[in-house]
Amino acid sequence: MVLTTFCSAEEALELALPGSAVAVGGMHMTSAPMSLVREVVRQRIPIQRLITSPSSSLQADLLIGVGLVEEVVTPYIGFEHLGLAPCFRRAVEDERLSLLECDEAGLTHALYAGAGGLPFVGCPNGIELTDIPRVCPELYREVDDPFTGERRWVVRALRADIALLACREADEQGNVALGRFPFTDRLMALGARRVIAQVERRVSSEEMAAHPPGTTLPGFLISTVVVAPGGCYPTAAPGDYERDEDEIRAYLQAAQRPDNLEAYVSRTIRSVPEPAYLDAVATRLQPAPTPATP
């Protein structure tokens, strides 16, 4: 049983232990827990292993770019139509980052295994025809299927010490609502030893009850809630606001060169405390289409 604490991003991350395995939620340029990620950057918390969702973007590239990540487990870091992830690309090409190459299914099953106490899970067909398992013995091993005798790849369970997630709402008991797209954020939360959730707003338990089953997580799994309206900015929060593509492009432009990135991070993140950051972006949030249900 975990008692949920409500606090600022700064306080939430002060409790994070350096050298942890950190899972960071959100897919592509949507629902990235940027308030928490920015605070990791400000406090310069070293991450021994970063575990991304099946498709990550700014939340991973920024942490890699500022040199806080020793090892990354990821099936994809990129910016879709905006191009490759500049810091991830540079760090791998310069061999400064340890990469645990994996695929979407392998990662998802590994998170599921981590959440459920399974030591490993058999991989679906198709993986043996690729080069992925052979370059990542840390996660993939070949075993004899005890039922058929066939050789099969299995993927090892993954658990994070800390999961950083962006949720839509939290109530006073620390229950959180994940919103329209659960991505793998749910699995990350179920498996992590500690979950830090940033939320757009705090609501009553009655309002929380309006969320359909399967879209919420109980407060006893959530260690810390940070109320951070606009906190996914510049990525999108479905039902709340669109991504700011101009700001993402500004990051991508700066991130082409390490010195420019350093100046960008110093100016836009390190010199601005998170509450001031959120105040400043509040007027730039463009409302997103709202689904019929919460």
Binding site: M27, E93, D103, E104, R180, F181, T184, E242, P289
Partner: protein, 256 residues
């Protein structure tokens, strides 16, 4: 090339025509082109087609403008959404999904795709985003490969890293569960399919204004060219009208 439509629009129309009624299509990142093709097919000849956006898991979304990201908030208004973990289950078991729209930073003569690394995996010349769902390619009834860049760097004899498997290059590499494999390749220059015997890519049609020689030069491997190569049929007015209706902001006017 006629000024009345863009190459991307032509590609979307070619992809739409390849879909059959009742099929379930899955697409990944940067979904505008395949999403437009699915919606076009549903309107024109495949009313029971379903489509799933990987990442968000949105099923049959009809956003007002074509989204550039598969997790765009605009697709949150889809009538149904599958959590990504369930999309992974359905893709892996086979039989639930029919068509995979895939691609890569390299595509080879056998239809293998690479999204991970060019050069050695360990210390690559170019690190790509990663393989994501490409290992599922053999689990779909068929895979359609599309790319916005047809040049010798993208179309190579052998990919540097296999993210998703195409056709086996020898009978020994055959696996019982594999289905049709990559069946169609759509590029800004041409469409290609695969020779049933050699399993290698062959030229099927060239787009209007493009010559066979243009395609040969832009391809980094020995592309099989049949004795007769027709021109890709141009989009008709009905197709173009519908495309413009579902893409009012003109995303497909640009070769993104």
């Amino acid at each position: 090339m006629s000024a009345e439509y863009s190459r991307t629009q032509l590609m979307a129309v070619v992809l739409a025509r390849s879909f059959r009624d009742g099929e379930v299509v899955v697409m990944g990142a940067v979904p505008a082109l395949p999403l437009a093709a699915c919606r076009l097919a549903r309107t024109l000849h495949a009313p029971n087609l379903s489509y799933v956006l990987g990442g968000s898991g949105a099923v049959n979304p009809t956003p007002e403008t074509l989204p550039l990201s598969c997790c765009d908030p605009a697709v949150a208004t889809a009538p149904c959404t599958l959590p990504v973990a369930e999309v992974v289950l359905l893709a892996a078991r086979g039989g639930a999904f029919d068509v995979f729209c895939a691609g890569g930073i390299q595509i080879d003569a056998y239809g293998n795709c690479n999204l991970s690394a060019i050069g050695d995996w360990d210390g690559p010349r170019l690190r790509g985003p990663g393989s994501v769902g490409l290992p599922f390619m053999p689990m779909f009834r068929r895979t359609v490969l599309y790319t916005m860049s047809h040049n010798p760097r993208t179309f190579v004899e052998r990919v540097d890293f296999v993210s998703g498997a195409g056709h086996p290059s020898s009978p020994a590499a055959e696996r019982g569960y594999r289905q049709e494999g990559p069946s169609l390749v759509i590029s800004p220059l041409a469409t290609m399919d695969f020779d049933p015997v050699t399993r290698r890519m062959r030229l099927a049609t060239v787009h209007p204004g493009i010559s066979v020689e243009d395609v040969r030069k832009a391809t980094g491997f020995e592309l099989f060219v049949p004795s007769s190569v027709p021109t890709t049929p141009e989009p008709n007015n009905v197709e173009l009208t519908e495309l413009r209706r579902l893409d009012p902001s003109g995303v497909l006017w640009h070769d993104y």
